[in-house]
Amino acid sequence: MSDSGEHAPVPKVALAGHPNVGKTTLFNQLTGESRKVGNYPGVTVERTSATLYTPHGHQLELVDLPGSYSLSPNSPDEVVTRDVLLGDLKGESPPDLVICVVDAASLERHLYFVLQVMDAGFPVVLALNQVDRAEDKGLRINHQVLADELGIPVVACQATTGRGIVQLKQTLRFPFPPPTPRRWKGPGAVESGILKLADHLEEAGIARPTAHAVHLLADTSYRIDPQAHLPVGAQVEAREIASTCIAKSQPPEDAISQARFLSIRRTVRAAVTETRTESETFSDKLDRYALHRVWGWFILGGVMFLVFWSIFSFASIPMDLIEKAFGALAAGVGLLLPEGDLRGLITDGMIQGVGSVVIFLPQILLLFLFIGLLEGCGYMARAAFLMDKIMSRAGLTGKSFLPLLSGYACAIPGVMSTRTINSAKERLLTILILPWMSCSARLPVYLLLIPLLVTGSFAQTMMMSLMYFLGTGTALLAAWLLGKRIGRTEPAPQFLLELPPYRVPDFGYVGRHIMGRALAFLKKAGTIILGIVILLWALGSYPKAPEGEDQLSYSVVGRLGNLIEPLVRPLGWDGRLGAAMLTSFAAREVFNGSMAVSFAIGDGEGDNATVRQRIRQRIAGARKPDGSPLYPPLTIFSLLVFYIYALQCLPTTVVVKSETRSWRWALGQLAGMSLFAYLAALLVFQVGRLFGL
């Protein structure tokens, strides 16, 4: 065929549909990739694409679009879908064919979007996903009738099991069929308006004139908000036509949506038969407890406690192994190398520094595992439903719960997933408070310091919960206070969320996702953190102190510590903690490496204790000249409080900038949070001292 010629562009196929309908699972099945999948609306917030080969060997580009309920966007991720489908996105050609993915079990709800895509003038293939669930619910869908009624090919599939994937690929035969004509007819005034507007747009050289004309009349904000790619005259004319229609009591939005719904009802009546009335499904039964006003909270509390408790207890086995491995490595290298700076650099600097961070890998992965499982099984949406009651008191809604919870793993995906929030005000507030959700980079610091305050796994879990609670509580309070100042004129955000049925999570996918996170973490430990610990070791070892003087206080780190000491003294810290805090602005985990390096330099002899225990022993055993502990519990607590609140992560600041499109918010957040962290630690130490702690 001529289409496979060298210069012909690769045909583009887009996957579109409601959020959480299984587009990404289908995308992965079709292309063999492993993108992030979740059982929560809004997992895909950007377009992603990959290459796909049809059974005939043709190459296609498959684009996965963010889930959208309609082409009239309600949130930033839906704008992407509309712009791609109307061909308005700069630097992105419109697709040549669209696969509309719909949930067979709620076909009627999904067809509105399908009609909108067909109206946009594309050849459409309907992927009837989750047919198994529809059959379980007693819905019989006649595919042939459905295809005839809609005028497009219909393929039944079950993306999770791979059923129907081959048939779907076979429908992507090139050349693609021409677009199907519109399935509905509006009242006279609207129809003549569409014709007139389309003529005008065609003269102005706009591609897909009819699609744009229909959309200009169907969506009020599309004809009022400035649209860079449309001539101003077209919007003015659309407004005039709309007022003519309104004068004839045929408001175009209502008339068009009614005409579409009428056509949908006709289609559904012809193609779908209910073999039995809707009965309570397994999901409904579970929800009776999960969403119960009393039991629901017990379950949510239990799940959260279990997550944090297992992070503390289950992880100890692999952690001990990693620790032993690093200890053996340091001892082995120590035997091989002669005493001197090189040995110091490798054992005290590199191995101990990196080891003190890598040790926390199991705990971080457990956190990602639990978030992945909760998202995959569908519980996350229930948690959002329950949390809406609390969030609404802070001026947010349950929709900001998932981004905030993802923030416990890492602030960056959390900030990016705020794109599913429809209210601009709520979205900004969520981004601003998100770094106060204690992310996994803080875990190593908490885990190093908490055992210095309390012993026993229950007390430690409770202390850990307090860390998360302080961060989250302050964040919600801040949202409430900021909400009164930012966008006062905007209406309060409203909660509207689909609760997907419970599913068994895709373990293979969750496993791959966790592996990805593990590699990313190890890469960070092997590059940035290794670089910084080497630098820190050098700064702590040079210049060499003359005989009889303390090496650490003579070194660059010691001098830097002295320099910063007046600033951190009111927090109860000494120069060493101050220097470690400064270095962790590069990455929070560096604090551990920094402490390991700086304390190992104090006395170089190796003992049998593990890295963690050694740092802790050194911290607990450090004494002032008068014999009192250098780091009393109050100092440790003030340090912990600082780490809860400080925004020590430059990538987050960069992502906040790109999401809010403003350096002002990003830098304001960085400065505000750092200042707040300082003041909070100051308050803790000073008030604690007043009480004689």
Binding site: A492, Q494, L496, L497, E498, L499, P501
Partner: protein
């Protein structure tokens, strides 16, 4: 004119979704308010049969094979009649 009057009467017999009783089935009659387009597109379109499952600050409804959670303010914009 007379059809207008019947429409008005029909609307009067309808109630807002936030006042509707839990556990009962309803049919959506009309949408009135700033969020009506969004509600219509997610599934609360005219003539759709829905069941209210839970009440409170956030409501829960079964709509066409799925469950939708919505705030009270949004529920106030959905006019329903029992069926």
């Amino acid at each position: 004119m007379s059809s207008r009057l019947t429409d008005d009467l029909k609307r009067d017999s309808a109630l807002n979704l936030d006042q509707a009783a839990v556990g009962c089935s309803f049919q959506v009659k009309a949408l009135e308010g700033p969020a009506c387009r969004q509600l219509r597109e997610i599934g609360f379109c005219e003539e759709m049969r829905i069941r209210k499952i839970a009440d409170g600050r956030t409501l829960l409804c079964a709509v066409c094979g799925t469950r939708l959670a919505l705030s009270r303010d949004l529920a106030r914009q959905v006019r329903v009649t029992p069926c």
